[in-house]
Every structure is written in structure tokens, then in C-alpha cells.
């Protein structure tokens, strides 16, 4: 029983991070309609700027972390503006953008490697005794992750449902052309969705950096999991992506009950391929099948 609750707890921790990644990814996808792999680089930049400001420079967390999130946000907006926006005009833009975002991901990852070096870094926070919650041992930092994510998600949900900007975002995501004729500034929507999405990635990066370690190569698995979660939930739909994140996190961690833990990464991709084949619109998605497969 204790093992089960521990696995569920681990699933929720991983799921929170995946859900943050998936929510940001999906928010950007809902407007720009391409798979932005560079989102994974934003996550790494969030983590490393937090490390730079808080650990190397030594600012207190409450100053360092918001600034790190701001850095991630600005980076996301900047890349989108310089590299991705112009490519949107290509006919086969999906492929061009997918590859270009892969390129940007690698470029940023290698720049971080050159600046910070290849060794594993950590905030070196004191390891605190875990609390026993229903048989699962959870450290305070993990508890922060488990709690922060839903708080952020409720914020996003309220923003999308209740505010004018949120409604405009959803309208643009539904139908860009009609949204534009109704006077919604599409470029502003792109700007907002990229900024918000990148901020979420930055936040996810910081949370992981606090709880685990920092490595320049941490972004690839994060974006792949986020992307998988977004597709499994239903791509372009933020709440569905969030649920997809928790689903993947739990599936991975419960899966190692049966499989060697080395297969953890493979589990989410098997789920991805199954979903692409049989339910490409995702678990909760309304998206038409035709957009994904013939």
C-alpha cells in the first residue's frame, strides 16, 4: 500500500511538471499551430537563470525567481518574433517550424552548456525529512510542486474563462480569421500566448531545479513529455493538456510497478504512439481527426 501511494505521489510530482510544460506548449500551439520544441529550451533557461540569480549572484529567491521567469518569457517572445513569425508564411510551415524550433532548442541548449559547463549543478538546499502522507514520503519541496501547479492552473483557467483577453485568446484559437474580423489583434494574441506559455515553462524549470538538479540537457525530456501530454490530453486545449500531463506522470510512475524503471521514458512514447493512432484528437480533445491523420 505504501508503495502504491508513493508511486502515486511520484506520479503527481512528475505530472505537475509535465502539466506545466504541456499547458505552456498547448497555449502557444492554440494560437500559432505548430509544435514548438524550443519550449524545452525556455524551460532550461528558466532553471539556469534562477540558478544564476539565486545561487551564483546570491539574490533572495523572491527576487531571483520572478526575474528568471521574466527572462524565460522574454526569450520565448524573442525567438518567436525573430525566427518563427517569418516562417509562418511558408506553405508547409508545420515542418519548417518544427525543424527550426528543433534547431533553436539545440542552439540555446549548447549556449547554456558553453556558459555553465557540463557538470551537474544543484541549488544545494538542505535535504529535509519527508513527511508521511498516506504512506508516501514527500519532502516539503515536492509538496510545493504538488501545490503550486494546481494553483497556477486555476489561475490560467480563470484567466481564459473570465477575462476579456482570455476570451479573445480562445476565440483566436477557435478560428483565427473570424477572430480577426471581430477586431481581435492576432499579433497581440500571439504575443500574449507566447509570453504566458514561456513563463509556464520557466516556472516548471525553476521548480525542477529546486527539487532535483540542473543539467544543460534537461530540456529534451521535459519538452517531449510536455508535448506527449499535450497530444494525449488534446492538443491546443489548455485544460486538456494539463490533465494529459498528470495522466502521463501517473502512467509513467505506475508503469514501473511492472516494468524495469529504465523503461520510464519509453512508456510515455508508447502512450503517444497509441494515441496518435487511435485517438489523435486526444483524450479530451474536440479536434478533428483529419488534421492529424488521413
Amino acid at each position: 500500500m505504501a508503495v502504491l501511494s508513493q508511486l502515486i505521489a511520484n506520479g503527481l510530482i512528475a505530472g505537475s511538471i509535465y502539466a506545466l510544460m504541456a499547458a505552456g506548449f498547448s497555449m502557444m500551439f492554440s494560437i500559432q499551430r505548430f509544435m514548438n520544441i524550443a519550449h524545452g529550451a525556455t524551460y532550461v533557461v528558466g532553471a539556469f537563470s534562477a540558478y544564476l540569480f539565486a545561487k551564483i549572484i546570491g539574490w533572495p529567491f523572491w527576487i531571483a525567481f520572478p526575474i528568471a521567469i521574466a527572462v524565460a518569457t522574454l526569450l520565448g517572445i524573442l525567438i518567436n518574433h525573430i525566427v518563427f513569425e517569418p516562417l509562418q508564411k511558408e506553405k508547409d510551415k508545420n515542418l519548417a517550424l518544427l525543424l527550426a524550433s528543433f534547431g533553436m532548442f539545440l542552439l540555446i541548449e549548447s549556449i547554456i552548456l558553453m556558459i555553465f559547463g557540463a557538470d551537474v549543478k544543484s541549488f544545494g538546499l538542505p535535504v529535509e525529512r519527508g513527511m508521511d502522507i498516506l504512506g508516501a514520503i514527500i519532502t516539503p519541496l515536492q509538496l510545493i510542486i504538488i501545490i503550486t501547479a494546481p494553483v497556477v492552473f486555476i489561475g490560467i483557467w480563470l484567466f481564459l474563462k473570465k477575462t476579456l483577453v482570455g476570451k479573445a485568446l480562445r476565440a483566436t484559437s477557435d478560428n483565427t480569421v473570424i477572430a480577426a474580423t471581430m477586431g481581435i489583434n492576432i499579433r497581440a494574441m500571439t504575443f500574449i500566448s507566447t509570453g504566458l506559455g514561456s513563463a509556464l515553462a520557466g516556472l516548471a524549470g525553476i521548480l525542477v531545479a529546486l527539487e532535483q538538479n540542473l543539467e544543460h540537457s534537461m530540456g529534451m525530456s521535459a519538452i517531449l513529455k510536455g508535448l506527449t501530454a499535450a497530444i494525449v490530453g488534446g492538443i491546443g486545449n489548455v485544460p486538456a493538456a494539463i490533465l494529459g500531463g498528470y495522466l502521463i506522470g501517473l502512467a509513467e510512475n505506475l508503469g514501473i510497478w511492472y516494468l524495469p524503471s529504465g523503461y520510464k521514458d519509453a512508456i510515455s512514447f508508447v502512450i503517444l504512439i497509441i494515441f496518435l493512432l487511435f485517438r489523435p484528437q486526444g483524450f479530451f480533445g474536440m479536434k478533428k481527426r483529419e488534421e492529424v491523420a488521413e
Binding site: L99, M220, A266, L272
Partner: protein
């Protein structure tokens, strides 16, 4: 010493020519954005290495066995994935390659997992041992030229024209009575077959392989070579492979730790990839990958 280094570069360039031209068959000519090419390469490398290490199977039989296995896997992979569109196909194949990598890492009783396979014998073909660097370079040259000729013949054949028709307008190809699914599956199988030969060629050259050789970064490298060289041009792929093999080499002599040099190499590939997509989508030689079609006519 310097000759050995240059010949080594030549051998590696031949490997990448084999990998890029075969990938170009899938991407450039058939329009399949296959991000799983490296998995076929891995299957080839591991199959012939394991056969040679465990059963003393001669190189060419092992290489053919690996290539056949990869071709079968490629053909089977097309059943679930080929109906997916563009970027979703890319994701599906990427998932496939990560699953293969994960199996290589975890099936320890067969592959020794992260420890890798040391002591892979140098090949010997019909009693002719390819055991020195110059001999291997010649072997690489012959192999790369052979692959190039075969692929050039394939893409100019009626079959190759069907592939290009599928890429340009699959519906039109179907209307003309072409079995587009079968053609795409065959193209993927052929592409996989050649990549696997590249894998055997490389494994028996370096005599040691481990799963890290077949990571997603390697996929991106080969992809960059295809895009930089120009898609739908075999000559472009050769140019891309040679250029991207040689270009980062001077970095090796900079006074930095190897991890930093590795980062620089990666940055160089990534930068080239982005610049080419952004400003010269047709690559060095080739057609615009993301070309615009209007009423079926290339603009």
C-alpha cells in the same frame, strides 16, 4: 599521424553520406518527415555487432541481416505511422526512435545496456581483411558510392517518380491508380535498409558501440545535413554530409574542455539548420523543402 586523422574524417564523412542520402529518400523524395532514422542505424549496428561477437558471423552476412531486419521494421513501422500527417509523423517516428534507444539501454542481457559492446571485430570480406585505416577508407568510399548510385537509380526510376508524385500531391497519385501506401512503405524500408548498413559499417570501424551513439542529437545532426545540403537532391545530401562533418573539426583544436567543444559543435549545427530553414530553404543544392504549391504547380 595527420594522414590517419584525415582518413578518419573521410571514413566518418562516408558514414554520413550513407545516412543522409538514405534519409533524403524518405524526406526529400517521398515527403516523409522521418525523425526515427537513427533507430534503423542502431538496429544495423547492434545486429551485426552482436552476430559477430556471439556467433562469429562474417561481417557481410551480419550487415545484410541487420539491414534486412531494419527494412522489415521500417516496413512494419509504416503501418501505424504513415497515415499521420507531416509533423505528427515526425513525432510518431521520434517516439519510435526513443523507444528503440530505451530498449538498447535496458535489454541488458542482450545489449549490455549502457556498458556497450566492446571488441567488435574489424570486417573481413571474402578473406580480405579490412583492418587498417586506409583500407577502411577505401571500403567506406566504395560503400558510399554504391549507396549513392543505387539511390540515384531509384529516384530516377518509375518508382522514384511515384514517390515524388506522392510527396507533391498524394491524392493525385492515388487518382492515377498508384498504391501510395505500398510505395511509401517500400521507400521507408529501403531507407532503413541503407541506414542499417551504415550502422554496421560504423560499428565495425569504431569496434565499440553503446546506446548514446544513437540518441536524438544524432538524428538532428543527420537531419541538419539533409536540410543544409538541400532536400530532394542526392548530391546535396553528399555535400551536406561532407560539409557538416568537416566544418566543426577546427573547433577540436581550440583550448577548451571537450564538453565545451561539444557544445560549440552542436551550436554550429543548430545555427546552420535554423539559418538555412529561415533564409535558404532549398539548401546548398536542392529543392525548397517547404515549397509553396499553388494549383499543383511549383512556384
Amino acid at each position: 599521424m595527420i594522414e590517419t586523422y584525415l582518413l578518419h574524417l573521410f571514413i566518418i564523412a562516408c558514414l554520413y553520406v550513407i545516412l543522409t542520402t538514405s534519409l533524403n529518400l524518405a524526406i526529400g523524395y517521398t515527403g516523409l518527415l522521418n525523425l526515427g532514422h537513427i533507430a534503423f542505424y542502431a538496429i544495423g549496428a547492434y545486429t551485426s555487432s552482436l552476430l559477430a561477437l556471439n556467433f562469429g558471423v562474417p561481417f557481410w552476412i551480419g550487415a545484410l541481416a541487420g539491414a534486412t531486419l531494419a527494412a522489415i521494421v521500417g516496413y512494419l513501422l509504416s503501418y501505424p505511422t504513415i497515415k499521420l500527417k507531416g509533423d505528427y509523423l515526425a513525432l510518431g517516428t521520434l517516439g519510435f526512435s526513443i523507444i528503440v534507444e530505451s530498449v538498447l539501454k535496458n535489454w541488458v542481457s542482450l545489449t549490455r545496456g549502457p556498458l556497450g559492446l566492446p571488441g567488435i571485430p574489424k570486417p573481413s570480406i571474402f578473406g580480405f581483411a579490412i583492418d587498417t585505416i586506409p583500407k577502411y577508407a577505401l571500403f567506406g568510399l566504395i560503400l558510399a558510392v554504391l549507396v549513392y548510385i543505387v539511390l540515384e537509380i531509384v529516384v530516377r526510376s518509375p518508382f522514384g517518380r511515384v514517390l515524388q508524385a506522392i510527396r507533391d500531391d498524394e491524392m493525385a497519385a492515388k487518382t492515377l491508380g498508384k498504391d501510395t501506401f505500398n510505395a511509401k512503405a517500400k521507400a521507408l524500408a529501403l531507407s532503413a535498409f541503407i541506414a542499417a548498413i551504415g550502422g554496421s559499417y560504423y560499428a565495425h570501424y569504431v569496434t565499440f558501440i553503446d546506446p548514446t551513439f544513437f540518441s536524438i542529437l544524432e538524428t538532428i545532426l543527420i537531419f541538419s545535413m539533409v536540410i543544409v545540403g538541400g532536400t530532394a537532391s542526392m548530391l546535396g545530401s553528399v555535400a551536406g554530409a561532407v560539409l557538416l562533418t568537416l566544418l566543426p573539426e577546427p573547433l577540436r583544436f581550440l583550448p577548451f574542455p571537450s564538453s565545451i567543444i561539444g557544445g560549440m559543435r552542436q551550436a554550429l549545427y543548430a545555427l546552420l539548420l535554423v539559418l538555412v530553414i529561415r533564409w535558404r530553404p532549398q539548401g546548398l543544392i536542392g529543392e525548397n523543402t517547404f515549397k509553396k504549391f499553388k494549383n499543383g504547380v511549383k512556384r
